[in-house]
Amino acid sequence: MPVIRDVMPAFELFQPTSIADTLGLLDRHENSWIMAGGLDSFDWLKDRIKRPEVVIDLGGVAELRGIREADGGVEIGANTTLTEVAGHPVVKDKFKLLAEAAGIVASPQIRNQGSLGGNVAQDTRCHYYRAGWPCYRAGGNICYADTPTAVNREHAILEADRCVAVSPSDTAPALIALDAQMVVRNGDGERVIPARDFFIGPWLDITRMTMLERGDLLVSIRIPGTFAGKPHYFEKVRDRQVWDFPLVNVASTMPTNGNTIEDARIVIGGVAARPLRLVAVEDAIRGRARNEETANLAAEIATQGAAPLRHNAYKIPLMQNLVKRAIRGEGQWTS
């Protein structure tokens, strides 16, 4: 029987004006859905794949918006739009990596509506999962994307564990590279989760992509001053240059002393269910000259253990080249 998808299904809409009210609603309504910019939410709701009884619209919660300087870094409200993040003078001055990443998400219209919190907390784009097929991530017992005849060009080459979906976020790799911290609140209080640990793979919970659980609300994102103004690199490769999710993206920060790499954060998105911080690469290049030899070494290490599916082996050389370019620090992104 065909499903009518052209109208929004019925649900109870709440529009709280404070974080406390939001947490109260989350506590009271088990089958609830948090909506920030609505860009991920509306697909799920109109397609009837997710069927919440209650939708909590964060649009009226002023506490969740804005960018504040703090201790040499910044604290960004989770519902601050991507346009605001990309254009904020302090972010552009100190954390240009994030400004670049936020500024390349989707299209201007989407960035005007989409929030930083929504961009990092969005669900995967796996078309089998989003079509409502009963895959592992949807609570079933199979991955439709990991079969010999599946369309899996956009899927994972690393860390696949039954599910091969990937994180689609552009800002998440940048936040990990900047050692950001995610501030999460629920009825029991507040906890601060390093961005590196905020994103999780299917081995930890195959039905979630982040540490956020029912009742949790991502309140803000803190970026310490550690890498403020330091050399950085961001590049996103996508099928359509107008607007698209990344096939692979890379974000790095790399303080140098002369030509020697003092420290590094290199994070790759689009290759696994979570943005992967390449710790082995970082360890290998720390203290080395920022040159072609180091870039080649890093690229070799970066893809160790990669297991491509039928249609995504191209991601291996793509990832290697992006890592090389991050180490070379080749100007602006070009793709």
């Binding site: 199979i142 990991d146 081995w203």
Partner: protein, 281 residues
């Protein structure tokens, strides 16, 4: 409460996916209720060992029995404990993430533990068939007189019926249930290895159709949650004061001559009059 979960396949078929995790809680609650009921019953039950006078007389008649009688050989004990480690690892890796105590990369640990369990069971099949008294653990119609006698003793009535051979009736029934549940989880688990990437078999999700996979997952889940209650009962009996002599025998291998005569029928579990661990089964 749903017993199983269903999903609509891309081809519009309703297929089983797995059991409802409510059954895990049902198994835990069932196990706890059994422990409470049995513990309460045992406060009033007569223990089923022979009267001291009768044991004295039997001991005098069987003066050639060694002071310590081997109940479990070293190899048999090693199998038991390896299997126990594998089983506990399987239950922990399967259910700890589900009940939310700790989330971790459980799948690889789970199937490695499953391989260990499968290997230990294969070893046990060979060992029990060729080196142990294979039939001593099985239960069948021949045990009806023993069952009747045990029931009468539990009701406090003296009964001249047979005492157990090497294994008490409850022990044999438990083994039967564990064997069935074990076969279910091992066979389905080996099939499920084809659904995950591992170095042992090539992944092939097309090995069976969706309905057959659904049944496989449901059987695996039923066996798994069944083991939660079974393990609870097993540990409970191992720790009960009147059963500690059995537990000791699984640790050290032996029971005393008096324990042998108190709890067993020497005609049904014949043991040499000279200690020789390699021939005691």
């Amino acid at each position: 409460m749903d017993l199983v979960t269903w999903a609509r396949s891309p081809w519009g078929e309703d297929v089983l996916t797995h059991i409802s995790w409510s059954l895990l809680w049902a198994s835990i609650v069932g196990g706890v209720l059994f422990l409470l009921a049995h513990g309460g019953y045992m406060l009033f039950s007569r223990h089923d060992k022979r009267a001291a006078g009768e044991v004295d007389r039997m001991e005098a008649q069987r003066a050639g029995l060694p002071a310590r009688i081997t109940r479990h050989t070293f190899v048999a004990r090693m199998f038991h404990w390896v299997m126990a480690v594998a089983m506990l690892a399987l239950v922990i890796t399967a259910f700890v993430p589900i009940i939310g105590i700790k989330q971790f990369a459980w799948v690889e640990w789970h199937w490695w533990a499953g391989i260990l369990l499968t290997g230990s069971i294969l070893f046990h099949l060979v060992h029990a068939t060729f080196f142990l008294d294979f039939w001593s653990i099985w239960v069948g119609p021949k045990d009806i007189p023993e069952f009747k006698a045990e029931m009468m003793r539990e009701l406090g009535k003296e009964h001249g019926g047979p005492k157990p051979g090497k294994y008490p009736l409850g022990n044999r029934l438990y083994h039967l249930v564990v064997m069935l549940a074990g076969l279910a989880v091992i066979i389905t688990g080996l099939l499920m290895m084809f659904r995950v990437r591992n170095p042992i078999v090539d992944r092939n999700p097309y090995l069976m159709g969706d309905p057959a996979w659904g049944i496989t997952y449901v059987l695996h889940g039923l066996g798994g949650v069944g083991f939660v209650g079974l393990i609870m009962a097993h540990i409970y009996f191992a720790l009960r004061p009147e059963k500690l002599w059995v537990t000791r025998s699984m640790l050290l291998g032996w029971i005393t001559r008096r324990e042998y005569l108190e709890h067993h029928d020497p005609d049904r579990w014949k043991t040499p009059t000279r200690p020789s661990p390699s021939t005691h089964v």
